[in-house]
């Protein structure tokens, strides 16, 4: 047996007292396609950052090419051939394709003068290694997500990578693009380059990996040859639960839809969307990133006012042309990106919670009514179980799950009728995830209509009474929640 390329032993790492990694070990062989799997928030990202020298582990050992590192620096990691492709790709939108690919290696070569023909040659060579052809003089800001990713991979190759870590590389890719990416990865393997493929999507994990390591809640559960694993085992190890457990059902007979759209559309984003949501329903909505699902949600919330079709709330037609209008109609939206869209990180929990409802918390003289504010804030902290010692703390001091509860509290305090959630449990630990699911189900049971957008198939199956699939801006299919799985997802996707 060859000596491993990289070996992590018993790594622990905590942040602000929260243990992100509790003694994780991982070994990657040269030329191996290794998959690091686990649900969101299980510690995958932290582990990557330990490998690339961004985080120094509290305890544990790192061996690369047989050499032991106590404090691995990012530069040392790069020198050892470890290249990480982050989800944002770390590329420069204002520079050309050629520069983005070649600049890094030119920099490592300590060149002072850049030769454009030389950079173009390097870039061409790098792209040809992965059999891709891109216009070298194009500015990267004009390219698609898939192309940007290819650029990031090419750049890593030019840095003499021995291991390329890909953090959730398929999130924004279409099926075709994923297939193309897999070809690239297999090509890398032929050249003796290892790939650590980080993902939580079962289908992909089996399609590509030779070995699978699963993390759950900061510990590694199992590391096994892919051929010895199956879906059931994988799900069990990722979630700690058996695949089959609970479903959400609701009877909507004799009810009026709380929200109905008729040939709803937004230029360039989605069209002909006719859906109904009944009180008590939790309707799942899924599809690739860029399928139009987020745009649909944001149109319903008035952020991107629709350009065609009609919307009815309790059979009454309304026009949602602004967020204020949507809120007035009691439609609220928990956005996709909690940190940038959902929260005012530096502000207090209290201010975050009252951000949307402050106008209802005034005295007769239209001044802030601190008593009312305290009462409302305490009430919601209590109801949603936000774990904190004071509502005056900045919200950035909270864990992901508690932060998400604060976002929920902000909107639930406005007493909504329709709740749209976009990836509500991304980056949330398992305990808080279950809390949030329970909160959503309880809200629905009280008569709210919920639209739940998610990538997480288990989440959709277990919490939605039906699931809609979106593809290229159209609703491509619908299925009962309990029947929703990988297979139906793919079928509806292609439909």
């Amino acid at each position: 047996m060859e000596s491993p390329l990289i070996q992590l032993e018993n790594i622990t790492k905590s942040f602000g007292g929260v243990k992100a990694l509790k003694g994780v070990s991982l070994t990657i062989q040269p030329g191996e396609i290794h998959c690091l799997a686990g649900e969101n928030g299980c510690g995958k990202s932290t582990l990557i950052k330990v490998m690339s020298g961004v985080h120094t582990p509290d305890h544990g050992q790192i061996f690369i090419n047989g050499k032991k590192y106590k404090h691995l620096s990012p530069l040392e990691a790069i020198k050892e051939g470890i290249q990480v492709i982050y989800q944002d790709f770390s590329i420069f939108p204002n520079l050309t394709v050629a520069e983005n690919i070649a600049l890094g290696s030119e920099l490592s070569a300590k060149r002072k003068v850049v030769s454009w023909p030389n950079m173009r040659r390097i870039a061409k060579e790098a792209l040809s290694k992965i059999n891709v052809d891109l216009e070298l003089n194009e500015k990267v800001e004009n390219l698609s997500v898939a192309d940007k990713q290819l650029i990031a991979i090419s750049r890593a190759l030019m840095q003499k990578a021995k291991l390329i870590v890909m953090d959730e590389p398929t999130t924004a890719l279409t099926h075709k693009e994923v297939d193309a990416l897999f070809k690239v990865i297999n090509g890398l393997k032929q050249d003796g380059i290892s790939v650590l493929f980080v993902s939580h999507k079962l289908e992909e994990i089996f399609a590509i990996s030779e070995r699978i390591t699963i993390l759950r809640n900061g510990s590694n559960v199992i590391s096994e040859q892919a051929k010895n694993m199956d879906t059931e085992k994988l799900v069990y190890h990722m979630t700690g639960r058996k695949l089959q457990d609970k479903y959400y059902d609701v009877d909507v007979k004799n009810k009026v839809p709380i929200l109905r759209t008729d040939k709803f559309g937004l230029d360039h984003s989605f069209e002909n969307v006719s859906i109904e949501i009944y009180p008590g329903e939790i309707v799942g909505l899924t599809g690739l990133l860029g399928s139009g699902r987020t745009e649909l949600a944001e149109s319903l919330f008035g952020l991107l006012p629709a350009t065609s079709g009609r919307v009815f709330i309790n059979s009454k037609e309304i026009k949602i042309d602004s967020v204020q209008k949507a809120v007035k109609e009691k439609i609220v939206y928990v956005p996709e990106d909690r940190l940038t869209e959902g929260l005012f990180l530096e502000q207090s929990i209290e201010r975050n919670i009252i951000a949307s409802t402050v106008v209802s918390l005034l005295t007769k003289l239209k001044m802030l009514n601190q008593d009312k504010i305290n009462q409302s804030v305490e009430n919601w902290i209590d109801k949603l179980g936000v774990v904190t010692h004071s509502s005056k703390l900045p919200v950035k001091a909270l864990s992901g799950g508690n932060q998400q509860k604060v976002v929920l509290a902000k909107w639930l305090s406005s007493n909504p009728n329709i709740l749209i959630l976009n990836g509500p449990t991304v980056g949330v630990d398992i305990g808080a995830k279950e809390d949030i699911h329970n909160i959503i189900k309880d809200l629905a049971k009280d008569g709210l209509g919920v639209l739940l957008i998610s990538d997480d198939l288990t989440e959709l199956r277990q919490n939605c009474n039906r699931v809609l699939v979106m593809n290229k801006g159209r609703i491509s299919g619908e299925v009962r929640g309990r029947d929703f799985n990988q297979k139906t997802w793919s079928e509806l996707q292609e439909a």
């Binding site: 990012p74 530069l75 790069i78 982050y86 944002d88 770390s90 590329i91 420069f92 939108p93 204002n94 520079l95 520069e99 600049l103 890094g104 030119e106 920099l107 490592s108 060149r111 002072k112 003068v113 850049v114 030769s115 454009w116 698609s144 750049r155 360039h268 984003s269 989605f270 069209e271 860029g290 399928s291 139009g292 745009e295 290229k472 801006g473 159209r474």
Partner: protein
């Protein structure tokens, strides 16, 4: 390729400037006289260096309002030293001293910006006040007119001498070559050197730049010290062209320079901007400044026109950015 050119800010500027030239020329034929054209160029010599300074900083994602203060500090300190020493040597010496002083003052900016990570606008507002306050308090506040001979000779040297219709000899001062040299040098630096490209990369995405292996501290130190040095050189040019050294000269020109660079298509958010555009922006501003009188508009309209120009120019850019953002790639196929 050609289609792209027609969408650039540079193209729009060329159209606007041509229209402006034609309008002014049709109002007053004196506009197209060699004398007036040389006047235009002459008034762009020192600001020409300043726009290069402002451009470099804006591309790196910062904003610098201290370059006039640095220029004034460098020129007045240099001339004070030289005149007290009874200096009689070659012209290169004042340029070296001025450049060196500017370089050091630029380093001071860089310390606050790169090491303490403070916002560039407020740091340079502070240093600008500090530099000019120090200059006027501790070095002197009255003009020096007995400049070293080499500086006076430098101001008299001309290239391209012409005798116009009325028999007056007009010419371009040799300092125009210095500005041209700096412009060419910096263009090459920005396009063909690692540090030049790293300034663009850093301005485009500072976090990515760090991950790829650029050193943000080095980049910012380079940017602010280099710009300081250029400002120092600009100060010496100003002094020798004016044939005296006045410590309160140049102050207050920073905002107009930045406006010219922004009109030239440089984005205040960093990463975008070309020397070509910045120079065209400057040409537009200088033309308006110099030609209002030729068009029969009282000079007190100057500020109003420039203010309106800044608003219209930045407004059009903002609207354009909004449009491109709204014009997402279609998902529907």
């Amino acid at each position: 390729m050609y289609n792209k050119f027609f969408q650039t800010t540079e193209f729009y500027l060329i159209v606007i400037i041509s229209l402006l030239f034609l309008t002014i020329g049709s109002q007053n034929s004196a506009f197209f006289s060699i004398n007036n054209m040389f006047d235009l160029i002459r008034s762009g010599i020192v600001p020409g260096i300043f726009v290069v300074c402002a451009l470099i900083v804006l591309v790196s994602g910062g904003i610098d309002v201290s370059f006039p203060a640095i220029a004034a500090f460098s020129m007045f300190t240099t001339t004070t030293i030289l005149s007290e020493a009874g200096f009689n040597g070659p012209i290169i010496v004042p340029f070296l001293i001025g450049g060196a002083i500017g370089f050091i003052l630029g380093i001071i900016n860089a310390v606050f910006i790169a090491l303490f990570k403070l916002p560039t606008l407020i740091v340079t507002l502070g240093t600008s006040s500090l530099f000019s306050g120090f200059l006027l308090t501790f070095i002197g506040s009255s003009q020096i007119s007995n400049l070293p001979t080499s500086m006076l000779n430098f101001s008299k040297m001309q290239i391209l001498k012409f005798t116009d219709e009325t028999g007056i000899v007009v010419g371009l001062p040799i300092s125009v070559l210095v500005t041209a040299g700096i412009v060419i040098l910096v263009s090459l630096l920005l396009k063909y050197t690692m540090i030049g490209r790293s300034i663009y990369a850093f301005g485009g995405d500072p976090a990515s730049a760090e991950r790829v292996g650029f050193s943000p501290v080095f980049i910012q130190f380079f940017v602010y010290s280099f710009v300081g040095m250029l400002s120092g050189i600009a100060g010496i040019m100003h002094t020798s062209m004016m044939r005296n050294s006045n410590p309160v000269d140049l102050m207050g020109s920073e905002l107009l320079i930045i406006a010219a660079v922004v009109l030239g298509g440089t984005r205040i958010s960093g990463g975008h901007g070309t020397i070509k555009g910045a120079l065209l922006g400057l040409l537009l501003v200088i033309t308006i400044q110099n030609s209002l009188i030729l068009m029969g508009i009282p000079s007190y309209w100057q500020r109003f026109v420039i203010g309106a120009l800044i608003l219209i120019g930045t407004g059009l850019t903002a609207v354009q950015v909004k449009k491109t953002n709204a014009k997402r790639k279609s998902i529907l196929t």
